[in-house]
């Protein structure tokens, strides 16, 4: 039975109670304990800096050349916090409520309430670090609106909020590196987790420059390794984003929770051709001022500016008058897909809808629009060679984020004691759909304000004998890593891992993408198995493993995606309901909205690796504060 370790007491007092119950490690003893942090995005960077400040010995690993390159840097729009600076009715409880509802009642209430509580501290911390958030003329902080909320609670730094928050965490991290409190290992990729006597005690890494395989031991291991959206090949994730650290942990016994919950972001630049290597997001903040529309007539080939006002269908405003263009991402994505399925799509591929700023430019003037969104407009122009000040943007949904991830309890510890999972890598706070501007909030909440307490409690409460990497389990795990690398290097094919990755992505998008059904998922599982077999027949990794070899790095990551993809389909098949980003064709309302089955599926699906068919464990979700209702944004 999965124990979520939710503290006792009212929802408001749970986090306080947990902090008080937690065991502590006194400052002089902290330096005797070591923590490994894998990943240097918002969650990993924040956790590493905070733990080092407290006095722990921290080792930080990243496959990037510098911690500042982590993909948190690409988040554009903003970060939510219940500061209620706008006097518009916001509160901790309302942020909690919006997030639970936005997640389609598939997240843990206690976790989400804590997230809303610490959101206040995050903004304070980031401002203190010098993050240049947008401000009003009086010098106070500015806010904007985001999807799924009727209040303005999003803090932002132009369209580069992720960058500025990450540089804040990075500067805190580098300060500790400078003080020798953190040992930093850039261009090191974690390739396995070492579990000794049932506890996570270390990792095996590959130095990506020298190819050297090394073992590192510690009292606790934190994975903050991001999401696995690249299983779809085309996504808004960075090229190197991968599932390997999480998948290796899964194969060592950590449960993978709700792997089918994928977020398809409504506003991305549409695919332009076969050569495409990734998709580019256009921030959700654009929906504050941009209006989404398609021609009313099917197959209308006129240029957008030639289509008169009364022949345009502003479908989000029409279907969802209360939230309009600011409905949550899953709702907006499905509505856009529905329009294209009905033959009203625009652009050459007909797989796009318009995002139009004409009204905003008339109301605010080009200058103000440019101040708010200038860098995004410029990015769009560079990619498409079209000027969005003159012609409406063309957008289409794309894979952006995964709500699924390694299972963790309230303390962010997985079912393997000593293995903590933070940020997008865990499954905890977003349920079946994440609201815009909540990923940055969760990453920093986990890293700055939750992990430091949980790590103290774990180290303070466990007997952790000193362990050397000469221990047999370290040797055996390292041996497994060596064998995997040898297998890839000696494979006798003639294709790059990229070619097969592209093929896998297409299967996932078609069968386990924006909408899923039983027949498609079953077909998907069979196609994935075939592609996996093909992968091992045709893979070629040139060069050698004792050198910088990006083809080898990719091959290892794609091999893991090939396995994860199947588990995602298995999970999607098992969940015979529609919720948030998981839309089962068989389960929809007459209007085409998600139809949940709370009686049978109000649980977290946590999968255990067995070698054969994965074993399902269910963590029931209880809703004591928010009534589980059909989501309504109309």
């Amino acid at each position: 039975m999965l124990d979520s370790k939710i503290p006792s007491g009212s929802i408001e007092s749970k986090w306080d109670n947990r902090k008080f119950e937690n065991k502590l490690v006194n400052p002089a003893n902290r330096r005797k304990h070591s923590v490994i942090v894998v990943g240097t995005g918002l969650a990993g960077g924040a956790a590493a800096a905070s733990l080092a400040e407290m006095g722990y010995n921290v080792k930080v690993f990243t496959y990037h050349e510098s911690p500042r390159r982590a993909h948190s840097i690409a988040a554009q729009g903003g970060i939510n916090a219940a500061k209620s600076y706008q006097n518009d009715g916001d509160s901790v409880k309302r942020l909690f409520y919006d997030t639970i509802k936005g997640g389609d009642f598939r997240a843990r209430e206690a976790n989400v309430y804590r997230l809303a509580q610490v959101s206040l501290n995050i903004i304070d911390q980031c401002v203190a670090q010098g993050v240049p958030f947008a401000r009003e003329y009086g010098g106070t902080l500015s806010n904007r609106s985001f999807g799924g909320a009727q209040v303005s609670r999003t803090f932002y730094a132009r369209g580069q909020t992720g960058q500025q928050l990450l540089l804040g965490a990075y500067s805190a991290l580098m300060r500790q590196v400078g003080e020798k409190a953190i040992e930093l290992f850039p261009r090191h990729e974690m390739l396995d987790l070492v579990v000794v006597d049932g506890k996570a005690r270390g990792i095996i890494t590959r130095d990506l420059v020298s190819g050297e395989i090394s073992s590192y031991s510690a009292d606790a291991v934190i994975l903050a390794t991001g999401g696995y959206g690249n299983v779809f090949y085309l996504s808004t994730n960075a090229k190197a984003s991968n599932c390997t650290a999480a998948w290796r942990a899964y194969k060592r016994g950590a449960y993978m929770a709700n792997p089918c919950y994928t977020q398809i972001h409504p506003t991305c630049i549409p695919v332009s051709g076969e050569h495409q290597s990734k998709l580019t997001l256009m921030s959700e903040s654009l929906r504050n001022d941009g209006r989404v529309w398609v021609p009313k007539k099917q197959g209308d080939t006129r240029r957008p500016n030639e289509i008169p006002e009364d022949e345009r269908d502003y479908f989000l405003e029409r279907i969802y008058p209360a939230f309009g263009n600011l409905v949550p991402r899953d709702v907006a994505s499905r509505a856009a897909k529905r329009m294209c399925d009905e033959g009203k799509g625009v652009g050459e591929s007909k797989l796009a809808v318009y995002l139009d700023f004409k009204t905003a430019i008339e109301r605010l003037g080009e200058k103000e629009v440019s101040e708010k969104y200038g860098n995004l407009f410029q990015m769009y122009d560079k990619i498409t060679d079209e000027n969005p000040y003159k012609i409406p943007m063309r957008i289409y949904p794309a894979v952006h984020y995964v709500m699924g991830g390694l299972w963790v309890d309230y303390n962010l510890m997985s079912n393997i004691p000593g293995l903590f999972v933070l940020g997008e890598a865990n499954f905890s706070d977003h349920g079946a759909n994440r609201l815009g501007a909540s990923a940055l909030m969760q990453g920093l909440a986990d890293g700055y304000f939750i992990a430091p307490y949980s790590i103290g409690n774990y180290i303070g409460g466990e007997k952790l004998p000193k362990l050397d990497t000469s221990h047999d389990v370290f040797k055996a795990t390292r041996n497994d890593v060596d064998l995997r690398i040898q297998k890839m290097m000696s494979n006798k094919g003639n294709q790059s891992a990229d070619a097969l990755h592209r093929k896998l992505g297409k299967i996932m998008w078609d069968k386990c993408g924006m909408s899923r059904d039983e027949a498609g998922l079953k077909q998907g599982i069979s196609d994935i198995k075939n592609t996996r077999e093909e992968f091992w027949n045709v893979l070629k990794v040139p060069g050698n493993s004792k050198d910088l070899n990006s083809e080898l790095e990719k091959a290892g990551r794609v091999a893991d995606f090939m396995e994860l993809a199947e588990l995602m389909c298995v999970d999607a098949l098992e969940r015979k309901e529609s919720c948030g980003g998981h839309f089962r064709e068989e389960m929809q309302t007459p209007e085409g909205e998600t139809l949940r089955d709370d009686k049978n599926f109000s649980h977290v699906a946590a999968w255990e690796f067995t070698g054969g068919n994965p074993k399902l464990h269910k963590e029931p979700l209880q809703f004591d504060v928010v009534h589980q209702a059909q989501r309504n944004y109309k």
């Binding site: 690409a74 203190a128 947008a134």
Partner: protein
């Protein structure tokens, strides 16, 4: 489009390296420059040749991983554009394109087009931060910052740490990079308590890393994909002077 690529291949830091010709055809004008290299690498792997190593990640101009001297220009011919945002429509059928890594003593070549830019991290570790431990912060709106200053800070903070400024400079100076961080924090009250120490320590680390001196030619500003302004260097010099007069 058909293109003749001349790409720098170097096995490792101690290899002398050379330009190798790679003719490519079927290049679509809608491809990004890096997608064009992806396609070339697919072909090389198919032929059993080692893929060309180059740094890249987000491919939307914000992570700062990508580099490349393209026909002698860091990040290619366009202003305010990182290599990953450069599209092939910028080139003509039949063009010859020379692709080389960043060239600077402080950025040693690791392999092919990949360089080691850890020197930038060490400069940040020397002082590019506000010393505020987690939990120490005051209420965010207790610190009022004029919008103008906040915008100026943001302009400087937009630096992505790619190193194009160094690569474009005849002296391989890192002044634009360092000044962007110094200016970002100097515009804000949060940066005030440590401002003198910060500029001294960061400049000392910059010198130690082997970057050259600034001779104000402005090549860095022209090459910067985020259009970080030269006035930051003036600000750094003023900050340095104030710190030295202390």
């Amino acid at each position: 489009m058909k293109l003749n690529l001349k790409i720098w291949r170097q096995k490792g830091p101690n290899d002398s390296g050379k330009l190798v010709d790679y003719p490519v055809d079927d290049v679509s004008p809608d491809m990004s420059f890096l997608e064009m290299l992806d396609i070339l690498n697919l072909k090389l792997v198919h032929d059993g040749v080692e893929a060309i190593e180059f740094d890249h990640d987000c491919r939307e101009g914000i992570c700062g991983s990508c580099s490349l001297n393209i026909n002698g220009n860091p990040h290619g011919p366009d202003t305010g554009t990182a290599t990953c945002q450069l599209h092939m429509r910028r080139f003509k059928d039949g063009d010859t394109i020379v692709v080389e890594p960043w060239r600077a003593k402080a950025f040693p070549i690791i392999k092919d087009l990949t360089t080691d830019r850890k020197a930038f991290d060490r400069i940040i570790a020397a002082g590019g931060f506000v010393s505020v431990n987690t939990g120490n912060a005051v209420e965010a709106n207790a610190i009022l910052i004029p919008k103008h200053n906040s915008e100026k800070a943001m302009d400087a903070a937009a630096c992505i740490g790619c190193g194009a400024c160094v690569a474009s400079c005849k002296n391989s100076s890192a002044m634009l990079f360092v000044s962007a961080k110094v200016a970002h924090l100097a515009y804000l009250p949060q940066g005030n308590p440590e401002r003198k120490m910060r500029v001294r320590n960061m400049v000392a680390q910059m010198d130690e890393e082997g970057f050259g001196s600034c001779s104000n030619t402005g090549a860095c500003e022209a090459a910067c994909p985020k259009e970080i302004k030269l006035e930051n260097i003036a600000m750094l010099n003023r900050e340095m002077l104030k710190a030295l007069c202390d």
